[in-house]
């Protein structure tokens, strides 16, 4: 199993000298199996360069196939899709997956992005064959040789975590999520942090506990967990209602799941390269006590990992 990082940023792309090393493109990770199954998780701006790379091989002649798993449809997870070159070549086969919604189907949500007046090329002009598949929380299915499992995350409008197993290895992708403690996110707008007196209801507590244990199960024994670590502890105190985690949350989940390696991911737009270095160093230091066996890396554009065989 090969894993390549193409975009590691949250919220919006941040070009410039401060983000040159880790990269300023939004969320996108590629997972490929030894047998050649190609799975792309999230379609932030990082997918543009990957698409150009794919066009050097079978996608150029319209003979490529890829599966795109979308964690949720916030901009930073879909905004690269209209710039994914393989879409515009007839013959390519693209399968797009995301959580099923009550109100709107996946195709129409993604169509909105490329409809007038936002983008000049509507979906029906994309020449590739595009198929959509909607997933329920907890779904498990196969993409060729890869087993995919899903779990619900705690994020505004609800996001999906994925775990992919193939070639004797397992990777879990958890963006975006808040910790499972302070706020239960759903579809309603949350304007600010919860007031100190407003306690979570018993049933919300239970829902969050269940959600967390399902995420831990999803990460069970994973060789790599890619986890939303957008906030510092101080930032989380100020904006818990934005729906993102701290590195310590990621370490706890990995520890409970017995995962081998954690990749910090989905950095806040303000986080400079030097600050990511510092976050990595302090996370490693703290984890020496709390999760001594866990290997910790910081995701960056161009990070290329081989797990299991192949």
């Amino acid at each position: 199993m090969r894993i390549q990082f193409w975009g590691v940023r949250g919220s919006l792309p941040v070009p410039g000298p401060r983000t040159e090393r880790y990269g300023g493109n939004t969320s996108c990770v590629e997972v490929s199996s030894a047998a050649g199954t190609r799975i792309i998780i999230d379609a932030g701006t990082g997918i543009r360069r990957m698409g150009k790379e794919l066009m050097r091989a079978e996608f150029e002649s319209g003979k490529g196939a890829a599966h795109i798993l979308i964690s949720h449809t916030h901009w930073d997870h879909i905004q690269g899709l209209p710039f994914f070159a393989p879409f515009y070549r007839a013959g390519n086969k693209l399968f797009v997956y995301a959580r099923q919604r009550d109100d709107q189907n996946l195709r129409s949500v993604l169509s909105l992005q490329v409809d007038s007046p936002f983008f000049p090329v509507p979906f029906h002009k994309a020449r590739a064959e595009v198929a959509f598949r909607e997933l329920h929380d907890g779904a498990q299915f196969e993409i060729n040789d890869v087993v995919v499992s899903c779990a619900r995350l705690n994020h505004p409008y609800i996001a999906t975590a994925y775990a992919l197993s193939v070639d004797g290895a397992k990777v879990a992708y958890i963006a975006d999520t808040a910790p499972f403690t302070d706020i239960l996110f759903g579809h309603e707008f949350i304007a600010g942090p919860p007031s100190p007196r407003s306690l979570l209801s018993k049933s919300d507590h239970k829902t969050l506990r269940t959600m967390r244990s399902q995420v831990v199960r999803l990460c069970e024994g994973a060789d790599l967990v890619i986890y939303d670590t957008m906030f510092t502890p101080e930032e989380y105190r100020q904006t818990p209602h934005f729906g993102h985690s701290r590195p310590s949350d990621a370490v706890e989940i990995c520890h409970d799941a017995g995962a081998r390696m954690l990749a910090l991911y989905h950095y806040a737009p303000d986080r400079s390269d030097a600050e990511v270095d510092a976050v990595l160093a302090s996370t490693r230091k703290e984890a020496k006590l709390t999760a001594p066996k866990l290997d910790i890396v910081a995701g960056f554009e161009g990070l290329d990992l081989a797990l299991g065989k192949g």
Binding site: R9, S11, L12, P13, V14, P15, G16, P17, T19, E20, G23, G24, N25, T45, R48, T73, H74, W75, I78, Q79, G80, F83, R101, Q104, V109, L112, Q113, S116, P117, F118, F119, P120, P156, Y157, H187, F189, A191, F242, G243, P269, E301
Partner: protein, 283 residues
């Protein structure tokens, strides 16, 4: 009049070591009038850094006001809107002018960008600042504070894009991002809009060779920009809205070619610069 570039890229932000000098953020320019009033041209991802710098002043205390002019609703001109910090400070007030963007009104366009599927704030009504949306009249003068504004709709693929002229305190600026003129060049109304300005910021997405391959995109080459500047007799031309695949080196080449093209026009009095993030041009 101080004109500052916050985003100079077209289509999609292009982070990476290859774009650090000119910058990878999408279209956003701020104009500080001699009176102190602020006008913002387009709201690509460059708007985020503009917002951060404004929060250090009155906008941080909810005492700021500005006029925002939107050329059109393609992503690279509005995608910074949800990330513009001053929108989240109650007390700030903004007047947003835009075209009709096809059949959809400005408010509807911005509201759809903020919808729950796409952004956690769910509605620009949840942002805090006071916002008033107004359709921009075309080809006639509109008075906004101490400035006189005029807009003209340029052809731009399937949707038009507004070009703007701003005059204040005896200085003038024209902003023409995303212009895809026909084979006979810019229409007279566009040239009239740019006529004699101190600074023309003009779409120069492509080299002429690349433009010929992508005519349907409705964007300009550096030659279109230079020809407009020469015909309109402007004082200074800033190339703008570079293709996402162009590196700093490629943009250097665009600027050099622009200067050579001007020499062919024998319009040597015009200065050509390449717009770059962080650059301020004082008129």
């Amino acid at each position: 009049m101080d004109v500052t570039f916050w985003g100079v890229r077209g289509s999609i932000p292009s982070p990476g070591p290859g774009t650090v000098r000119y910058g990878g953020n999408t279209a956003c320019v701020s104009v500080r009038l001699p009176s102190g009033e602020l006008i913002i041209l387009d709201c690509g991802t460059g708007a985020r850094n503009l917002g951060i710098s404004l929060l250090a002043g009155p906008f941080g205390k909810g005492k700021g006001s500005a006029t925002l002019l939107l050329s059109h609703a393609h992503w690279d001109h509005i995608q910074g809107f949800p990330f513009f910090g001053p929108f989240y400070v109650p007390g700030n007030s903004f007047t947003v002018y835009g075209g009709r963007s096809g059949e959809r009104l400005l408010e509807d366009v911005l509201e759809r960008q903020m919808a729950a599927q796409f952004f956690p704030v769910q509605s620009f009504r949840n942002m805090g600042a006071r916002m008033e949306m107004r359709p921009m009249g075309e080809d006639r003068d509109v008075r906004v504070g101490s400035a006189t504004l005029r807009a003209h709709a340029n052809p731009h693929g399937p949707t038009p894009a507004l070009a703007f002229r701003i005059e204040a305190g005896g200085k003038s600026l024209a902003y023409a991002s995303d212009a895809g003129y026909g084979s006979d060049g810019p229409p007279q109304a566009a040239v009239d809009l740019y006529r004699g300005v101190d600074l023309l910021i003009h779409d120069s997405t492509f080299t002429p060779e690349d433009r010929a391959l992508r005519l349907e995109r409705g964007l300009s080459s550096l030659e279109d920009a230079v020809d407009c500047a020469a015909r309109a007799g402007v004082k200074k031309l800033a190339l703008f809205h570079y293709d996402q695949d162009y590196s700093d080196h490629d943009v250097d080449e665009l600027v050099a070619r622009g200067r050579r093209r001007l020499a062919e026009h024998a319009a040597t009095g015009i200065e050509v610069i390449g717009a770059a993030e962080g650059l301020t041009v004082s008129l």
